[in-house]
Amino acid sequence: MSGHTRSELLALVPDVYLADGYLDSGKPRPELTGEWAAAACTQLMAAELSPQELGFTLDAIHLLLPEHQELDPSDRLYAAVKEAIEVVARAIRQPNNEGLLRWLTACVARVESEQDIAAFLEHAEAVRKQYAVLVALLPSS
């Protein structure tokens, strides 16, 4: 058996796993929905993010992305995520989770094209699903 230890997963941050971008030969890298999503979950869990805040934030990004018309895809996603963060902070009436903000910052920084946005959303959805399930699997939950 092989794999990654918890400390390796904590070190596998978006700056590392997205170093070569979201796409490989024009397609989203398969690790985005597998190992890298698991690594992101480990980091978010260490930051004590609630699955609800993650869900709210991703739903808000989905709702707001079509409202942004910035020509540059990177600018468009950045603006949508920035607004989503504001909306969620208002809705939950507390500051956003710092770990979530770090992860979003690093993920958004690597987006350069519309295909990257689609790949980011795919990655984020995989993280949402894995994260909620992992929280449910924890003995204390």
Partner: protein
């Protein structure tokens, strides 16, 4: 070309619930400028004359693309109301008693989250939802349409639009407690889980189901145990590499480790995850 470096996301400065944030204010300004002159004048007058606690909500409604007529009608409903009334009636989460919008169906957590976010963005939607569903913080377990039929209908529409089925809240199936815990997370996963036992006669079929789920982006919770089933541990399959050898990537939340196990190791009960060597159950996900 020099790549632009964007600022890191940081928690926004605290704003009152009724204030439009910078992005919504900016969008409202643009939409206002795009309105026909007559409508523009009407909306501008509303915004100019509204006291601060009403103006934010009007901006949010404008940013949500409502027409001048809709904004005028909305303003009639909120005009003169104090900040407490506005805060209570134009939001569906973050209520003073700590309660909020409630899912009306067994599987409609996801649609409920979407309703909550829509309401946070659009106060006209929030007011309509609250007015039409005065018991929005309650749910009838045996009849999803009893207390809040309109809200329930919208949740049902969203749910069925994603291939789900709206069933009453008390209609959950039987399973190990984990099934309920997993299904309680549907708001964030959008997934429903069904428990399936794994033994030597079913292991091939179950692995096939894991392949199908994982390859379509759905992680698969799994219980590992030992042959006499003296205890167990829950893990999550997050990847399946066809190989050869075919290898599964499994997240062990207890240790926070990611382990790789081949299909042969699973079939032979010859692996070691937290001391366990046999897969006893999988929790088959399906999208709701």
């Amino acid at each position: 070309m020099v790549k632009k470096v964007k600022e890191a996301f940081t928690p926004p400065p605290p704003v009152k619930p009724g204030e439009a944030g910078p992005a919504q204010t900016d969008r409202a300004d643009k939409l206002l400028k795009g309105m026909p002159p007559e409508d523009q004048a009407k909306v501008k007058k509303l915004l100019d004359e509204a006291p601060p606690q009403e103006k934010g909500y009007l901006q949010k409604a404008l940013a949500s693309k409502h027409t001048a007529a809709e904004l005028e009608e909305f303003h009639k409903q909120i005009a003169g109301k104090d900040a407490a009334w506005l805060e209570k009636n134009l939001h569906v989460v973050g209520q003073s008693q700590g309660k909020g919008i409630k899912q009306q169906w067994h599987d409609s957590c996801g649609p409920t989250t979407i309703q909550a976010m829509k309401a946070e963005l659009d106060p006209i939607y929030a007011l309509k939802l609250r007015t039409e569903n005065p018991n929005f913080q309650e749910a009838d377990n045996s009849d999803g349409t009893k207390l809040n039929p309109k809200m329930a209908d919208e949740q049902k529409t969203i749910l069925t639009g994603k291939g789900g089925i709206a069933r009453n809240r008390d209609s959950s199936g039987k399973g190990m407690p984990l099934t309920d815990a997993l299904n309680d997370q549907k708001a964030t996963t959008g997934l429903k889980f069904d428990i399936e036992e794994v033994d030597s006669s079913s292991v091939d079929g179950r692995l096939g189901e894991i392949d199908k789920s994982v390859n379509s982006g759905l992680p698969v919770p799994m219980r590992v145990s030992d042959a006499p089933n003296t205890g167990g541990h829950f893990v999550l399959v997050v990847g399946a590499d066809p190989g050869p050898p075919k290898t599964y990537t499994i997240h062990d939340p207890w240790d926070g480790k990611l382990v790789k196990v081949t299909d042969k190791q699973i079939k032979d009960n010859n692996f070691n995850i937290a001391g366990w060597n046999k897969v006893s159950h999988i929790y088959k996900p399906s999208a709701e």
